[in-house]
């Protein structure tokens, strides 16, 4: 379970996240939505232990994400992921898996099967600097799930992908859910969120506006219509 209790975060005197409380059940796919600059990326960075909240608390599986033990249960794919250009795809996955607790043996077959899972089976020996944006997104997902974490945090995972790529990533998220993994992801692409999320959270100007089931939020509208309406109402 992920429990976020009244966290706040400011940068240079400007409040980015304010008094945010979230509760995400184990095995759930949670979509975190909000307009640009709403505080989604800042929140996800705090959830994976990269940054600390100024106040409030975060517990992932009853432990702080700043603890190394907790982070071995976490997989994180940053927004527009950047990688070490001097490595090949296989080398990066090996590096990431080696750094994690190492539940798995890092043999070549295991690395290749993970690459295959994200549709990069023919690019493993290519240098990452030669990857396209879509390939980097896929590699970002591969490094986040390589160590079979229980909690997977994805920041805009569908950004820059073509329709086939998006479909494949959504399929992977569904498979992860089927295996009991908890997936937390930020996204702008609301039709995809609608399709794969159990629950959503909507944040605007650092404040949580809604948290709950997708259907309850949208009523008889599409998620996009309900989202735009909620944001506009909140800004008035």
């Amino acid at each position: 379970m992920i429990r976020v209790e009244k966290i706040s975060k400011s940068f240079y005197g400007q409040k980015i996240v304010s008094n945010l409380t979230l509760s995400i059940k184990k095995g759930e796919v949670f979509g975190f939505l909000g307009p640009n600059g709403a505080g989604k990326t800042t929140t996800i960075k705090m959830l994976v232990g990269l940054n600390l909240p100024d106040s409030g608390s975060i517990l992932v599986d009853d432990n702080s994400p700043t603890q190394k033990n907790t982070r071995s249960k976490i997989g994180f794919m940053p927004e527009n992921p950047y990688f070490y250009d001097h490595l090949t795809g296989i080398e990066l996955l090996k590096f990431c898996n080696d750094l994690s607790v190492g539940k798995h043996k890092t043999d070549l077959k295991f690395l290749e099967s993970t690459l295959k899972q994200v549709g990069l089976e023919n690019a493993g020996r290519k240098m990452i600097r030669e990857y396209s944006k879509g390939m980097k997104q896929r590699l970002g997902l591969a490094q986040a799930i390589i160590h079979d974490p229980d909690y997977i945090f994805l920041d805009e995972p569908l950004d820059g992908l073509d329709p086939i790529g998006r479909l494949e990533i959504k399929e992977i998220v569904k498979v992860l859910k089927g295996r009991g993994k908890t997936v937390f992801f930020n996204s702008h692409i609301l039709s995809d969120v609608e399709e794969i999320c159990d629950e959503i959270g909507i944040i605007n100007n650092g404040r949580l506006m809604y948290m709950g089931e997708v259907d309850k939020f949208r009523g008889n509208k599409t998620l996009e219509e309900a989202f735009v309406e909620a944001i506009r109402k909140g800004e008035k």
């Binding site: 960075k45 994976v48 982070r71 071995s72 990688f83 001097h86 080696d98 490094q143």
Partner: protein, 253 residues
């Protein structure tokens, strides 16, 4: 320890796959080879000239590589956000900094080794013996290189590579001038002596790692002094790396 080794290995890959390293190394090897010619036009002092320029060449080129690569080592990770990938794994910031340090240091040891092989072959060819004293001098200059790697890593946690390079070169200049400045102010005394003493104890005294003149003029080398210099260098590196870890911990990513 395991995480430090994994990060060091990755950093070493980054260093040895960098094309700029080979440009600098190629230039360094050419310079060391050129000492053969420079020695031959020096009217009977050829071995002295070869040792003088050879050891200086190894020192200067390894320092250039250390500063050049060290100053962008952490900055690049923050700027390109590659450290999100590493630090979201069960890795502490101290393991990250120490791994980066050892990766670059091992890379530097390999490059110094390559330059030294050419140097020792030339000296053996001209003098007929292995230059043991040269080996001690090169080994001690590696401690100075380690200090510069630590210093560059510290600077690269909060400043851009160009600014970090300028700071590092300034410290290089100050570090090699400390003894001279101190002896001057000791003679004149006064209140400024305290200010100079403050600078003397804060900045690294890099002359402690310079045995090149003693080697060239075949003067005595004290084992005790070398041991103390190594200890001084190691402690200085540890302090700089602790500051780098503290600085990275303070960073909002």
């Amino acid at each position: 320890m395991r995480n430090i080794a994994i990060i060091a290995k990755n950093t070493l890959k980054e260093v040895i796959r960098d094309k700029i390293l080979y440009s600098i190394l190629g230039f360094a090897l050419l310079f060391i080879l050129s000492t053969l010619f420079l020695g031959s036009i020096s009217l009977g002092e050829d071995l002295k000239v070869i040792r003088d320029l050879g050891l200086a060449g190894i020192y200067i080129f390894s320092l250039i590589i250390a500063i050049f690569m060290g100053t962008s080592l952490i900055y690049k990770e923050i700027d390109k956000r590659t450290l999100f990938i590493t630090l979201s794994k069960p890795v502490s910031r101290s393991e990250f900094i120490i791994g980066k340090f050892f990766g670059l240091f091992v890379g530097l040891i390999i490059t110094v080794l390559l330059m030294s092989i050419i140097y020792f072959l030339i000296v053996a060819f001209k003098g007929g013996v292995f230059d043991w004293r040269g080996l001690i001098s090169i080994s001690l200059s590696l401690i100075e290189i380690a200090i510069f790697i630590s210093l560059s890593i510290l600077f690269s946690t909060f400043s851009k590579p160009l600014a970090s390079t300028i700071y590092s070169v300034l410290i290089l200049y100050i570090g090699h001038s400390l003894n001279m400045v101190m002896s001057h102010f000791e003679k004149s005394g006064g209140i400024s002596l305290y200010a100079v003493k403050f600078v003397y104890y804060i900045f690294p005294n890099l002359e402690k790692f310079n045995l090149r003149n003693l080697v060239i003029y075949d003067a005595a080398i004290s084992g005790v002094e070398i041991t103390l210099s190594v200890l001084y260098g190691v402690i200085y590196c540890i302090v700089l790396l602790l500051l780098a870890i503290w600085s990275l911990r303070k960073q909002e990513l």
